[in-house]
């Protein structure tokens, strides 16, 4: 079972407007809501790829209860710590005319130290049946980056490999735990350790640097990914395609990579399957594709290049 931790889950609310205009009233033509947050997105994708997944983290209030209900309805196992605060909403506004998506994220509820301790106890139990731990997404108020490192240390005590996809502030303290896979979340900060990552070369340099602290490192900006491991270095880009949705592409990519690495596939295969999974997510509004068949159909659209190591 893969345990996917989302410390700051969100109900992703998808709003569709014909033409979004600032400063005036806009009416939406369609809306829907789905569980979100990086760990949940990665977990749900792995579930669709046929992997047993248990999701955990902090949930609160009626939004948290509804989020959990939807996950269970989808067949995903849950074991969340319910807190006093209310789970946040994230708003993904699609301008259908201009074919652009704008995302507005709430910060999330305040989490107390007692609630963090309850998660520690829950995770400790879950790790007894875990083949891998994925910890991904933002930190809610009240949870400091050292907390992540402490949760990862629990996994290390049980020899459970860890994949981290978090912003620099949370990721750097966790590097000392030597995680299996590291992927910095560069969606809002196109730099890491003060250095720009806007070019393919700079992302390769970043991935190689992170590889000093992990087995596998992935760096991406937009939908261009570079992957590095002792095996080598590979680059893969999202093929030019008519995308129904741009949200969750990164999370779907990482899920596909993890799926291959868990069956001892090569890094090149992981890059290809990751991109095929990302394409399946991009083809569906909301990013939740139907099944593994949707991924297999994309394999011949993907081109993976080996780069100098």
């Amino acid at each position: 079972m893969i345990v996917a931790v989302t410390l700051n889950p969100a109900m992703d609310v998808f709003l569709h407007a014909q033409k979004l205009r600032l400063g005036v009233l806009n009416r939406v033509s369609r809306l829907s809501a789905q569980p979100g947050g990086k760990g949940i997105n990665i977990g749900c994708t792995l579930h669709r790829l046929g992997r047993p997944v248990a999701t955990t983290g902090f949930l609160g209030g009626p939004t948290g209860i509804e989020l959990e209900r939807q996950l269970r309805e989808d067949g995903v196992t849950t074991n969340f710590v319910h807190i006093d605060g209310e789970t946040r909403n994230n708003y993904i506004i699609s301008d259908d005319l201009r074919r652009k998506q704008t995302q507005i994220n709430e910060p999330g509820p305040l989490v107390s130290s007692e609630e963090v301790e309850r998660l520690r106890e829950t995770l400790s139990r879950l790790l007894g049946r875990a083949e891998m731990l994925v910890i991904a997404g933002s930190l809610p108020p009240g949870v400091n980056p050292d907390c992540c490192a402490a949760l990862i240390a629990l996994a290390n005590e049980r020899d459970v490999p860890v994949c981290i996809d978090m912003t620099e502030a949370a990721l750097v303290p966790a590097l000392v735990t030597k995680p299996y896979l590291v992927k910095p979340d560069l969606r809002t900060a196109h730099s890491f350790a003060g250095k720009s990552v806007l070019t393919a070369k700079s992302r390769l340099v970043l991935a190689k640097t992170l590889r000093d602290h992990s087995q596998v490192a992935i760096a991406s900006v937009g939908f261009d990914f570079v992957l590095v491991s002792p095996e080598g270095a590979y680059e893969v880009q999202l093929p030019g395609a008519d995308l129904a949705s741009t949200v969750r592409i990164e999370d779907a990519f990482l899920a596909g990579v993890i799926d291959v690495l868990l069956r001892d596939g090569t890094l090149g295969e992981a890059a290809g399957w990751g991109m095929a999974t990302a394409l399946a997510a991009a083809a569906v509004r909301g990013g939740r594709f139907g099944s593994i068949e949707d991924v297999k159909r994309n394999l011949d659209k993907v081109e993976v290049s080996e780069v100098g190591n």
């Binding site: 609160g60 269970r72 196992t77 074991n79 319910h82 807190i83 139990r125």
Partner: protein, 148 residues
């Protein structure tokens, strides 16, 4: 069946168990060990009984007269004690292979509202009475459609 692994350990404080049930609107929780093996069950009724004693007479239970000052003191005491002191160790579990009639028998005849679902003794999820009633209604609708 609900694939939810929410559970408490025997060392969980009763106040925490009560808060978990309240926040997640649950009527009871499996009690598990470090390996998720189900070793007991703690229900809302167990919590209430731990605070307000009852008198059994003529096969029925009645609440004993309550001193509210004493009640507050008792609530504070019980809250700090652990689930181990109040859990029911004779826990009834089911497996994914058990059919709906077995669940109905346990829930109606024996009054269980929540049953842990286990595989080789380890918790896999729970089934609530509402899950069973929904499944029966769905079966009824399916039979009705077949007949049309």
């Amino acid at each position: 069946m609900s694939r939810d692994l929410t559970a408490v350990s025997p060392e969980t404080a009763m106040v925490e168990a009560a808060k978990t049930m309240a926040r997640q609107r649950l009527e009871g929780l499996p009690v598990v060990d470090e390996e998720y093996r189900v070793i007991g069950f703690i229900s809302e009724a167990d919590i209430i009984r731990s605070i307000i004693p009852s008198i059994s007479t003529g096969g029925e239970e009645f609440l004993a007269p309550v001193d509210f000052v004493d009640l507050a003191r008792k609530m504070s005491q019980v809250g700090e004690r652990t689930v181990r002191d109040y859990m029911n160790e004779k826990v009834v579990t089911v497996t994914e292979e058990d059919d709906i009639y077995r669940l109905c028998e346990l829930m109606l005849a024996r009054g269980y509202k929540t049953l842990p679902v286990v595989k080789e003794g380890r918790l896999e999820g729970v089934v609530h009475r509402t899950d069973v009633s929904s499944a029966l209604m769905e079966q009824r609708e399916a039979e009705k459609k077949k007949g049309e």
